[in-house]
């Protein structure tokens, strides 16, 4: 369990990072916290020629609050975000979901952007970003572009990031007054990959329901409040539509039934914290 040889690149600026990626393209992997990547390197699951370590790029370590967003730079660790005293007011869903991401020890190095860029269908942060309709900022030598979360994550471990692009930041919309959120996850052990995770946001006229772990990427549906009386049918159909994957810990059917059973409590939680 040792990594194969690779070229190690440690840019000092975003521009350098973008240059490195434009040189190496798909032969390079970007490493921010390394909590997923190095594990995969050790297991020799990943074959890459170069590692671009962005953990020491000062420009990427900022957390910025704008009028509409909390923008989190690519080198910002999960624990740094979680330890913001005002996080529960800023992005309440993030405050609920982050404690489910790995463990205290991995959150010390693991980054928010890294988790989103990795696009694991069971991860909490891509689900949160998708549910809230957040954005991903991408930078390359060709320029900068901003994608909606739904445009960014394309499928299982796949995103719209071009090989020469670097995720420089993600933007979580700030929670609005009167909104409420809920989060629930089922995993075999605390800190394990979710079998199913659910997030909900209650807005004035509708509920957003997000489901992770079932399909190849987070699924988000908006349910008008008027339709809440038919919630069971809606969720039942949604579960059937998502289908679900099989693995040794869960059948697809079990995943679907978790969605059917847990959507309501998560929505209730969101409703109960909305004003």
């Amino acid at each position: 369990m040792k990594p194969r040889p690779f070229t190690y690149l440690r840019p000092d600026t975003v521009a350098e990072a973008a240059e490195a990626l434009s040189e190496w393209k798909e032969a390079a992997r970007v490493m921010a916290g390394g909590q997923t990547l190095i594990a995969m390197l050790n297991l020799r699951l990943v074959d890459c020629e170069a590692i671009v370590d962005i953990s020491r790029v000062p420009e990427l370590s900022a957390i910025t609050r704008t009028k509409t967003h909390l923008e989190i730079g690519a080198a910002v660790t999960q624990n740094r975000v979680l330890s913001r005293p005002e996080l529960a007011q800023e992005v309440p869903l993030l405050a609920k979901a982050l404690p489910w991401v790995g463990h205290f020890q991995t959150r010390n190095k693991g980054t928010v952007c890294g988790s989103i860029a990795h696009a694991d269908p069971s991860s909490e942060l891509p689900l949160s970003l998708a549910l809230l309709g957040g954005e991903v900022v991408l930078r390359s030598t060709r320029g900068t572009r901003v994608l909606k979360a739904a445009e960014f994550q394309r499928g299982l471990l796949s995103t719209a990031r071009e090989p020469d692009e670097l995720v420089t930041a993600v933007r979580f919309p700030l929670g609005a007054k009167g909104e409420g959120t809920g989060f629930r996850e089922v995993a075999r052990r605390h800190g394990d990959f979710a079998i199913v995770s659910l997030a909900a946001r209650a807005r004035a006229d509708a509920i957003d329901l997000g489901i992770g772990g079932v399909a190849d990427r987070p699924a988000v549906r908006t349910i008008p409040r008027a339709d809440l009386s038919r919630l069971d049918d809606i969720v039942d159909a949604l579960a059937a539509e998502l289908g679900g994957f099989e693995d040794i810990h869960a059948t697809a059917r079990y995943r679907r039934d978790l969605v059917r059973r847990l959507a309501r409590p998560v929505i209730d939680e969101a409703l109960s914290c909305s004003a």
């Binding site: 990594p3 190690y8 440690r10 594990a39 020629e49 800190g191």
Partner: protein
């Protein structure tokens, strides 16, 4: 931009438990291997090399981190804290270590160094934790021997001691 070719050995230097260490290593060498094989600091253990067991946990600039999920080159210029730097001296253990001994919070001791490092970081940030918070942090470690309950008790007692809450401690 720092650039190291595969197989090329570069000088990595960092502060290990307050003292400088260095070695020439390939970029792919894990920090856990550097500590054990280059620096001879065998107090840090390796149990899985994929980030689950927690045996290899060290402090990286004060933050508890998996040394098996860290490249040695990433530690360059930083400070690394391990179990070997915890005790204040030859005569005494620190509060956390002493509480582990008192509560029989270790058996084979293989998981122990990592757990001690996690709680060194954790207690510095959370001097008055609840038992649930302690459990949450401990869930980043696997211990095969103790059944965990004595570890939770030891951390809670160490927290009290560190707060200077001697009365409760004596109880």
């Amino acid at each position: 931009m720092l650039r190291i070719a595969p197989g090329e050995r570069t000088l990595v230097t960092f502060e290990l438990d307050g003292r400088p260490v260095s070695g020439h290593v390939e970029p792919r060498m894990l920090l856990s291997d550097f500590l054990r094989q280059v620096a001879g600091a065998t107090g840090t253990h390796v149990g899985c090399e994929h980030g689950v067991c927690g045996c290899c946990t060290v402090l990286l600039d004060g933050a508890a981190s998996r040394s098996c999920l860290t490249l040695a080159v990433q530690a360059h210029g930083r400070s690394v804290g391990t179990v070997e730097g915890l005790a204040p001296g030859e005569q005494a253990l620190n509060a956390l270590q002493a509480a582990f001994r008192k509560h029989h919070a270790l058996q084979c001791g293989f998981c122990t160094p990592g757990i001690l490092m996690s709680f060194t970081d954790f207690l510095a940030r959370n001097p008055a934790p609840t038992e649930d918070q302690v459990r949450d942090t401990l869930s980043g470690h696997i211990c095969r021997c103790t059944g965990y309950a004595p570890i939770v008790a030891a951390v809670m007692e160490a927290a009290r001691t560190l707060r200077g809450d001697a009365t409760e401690n004596a109880a």
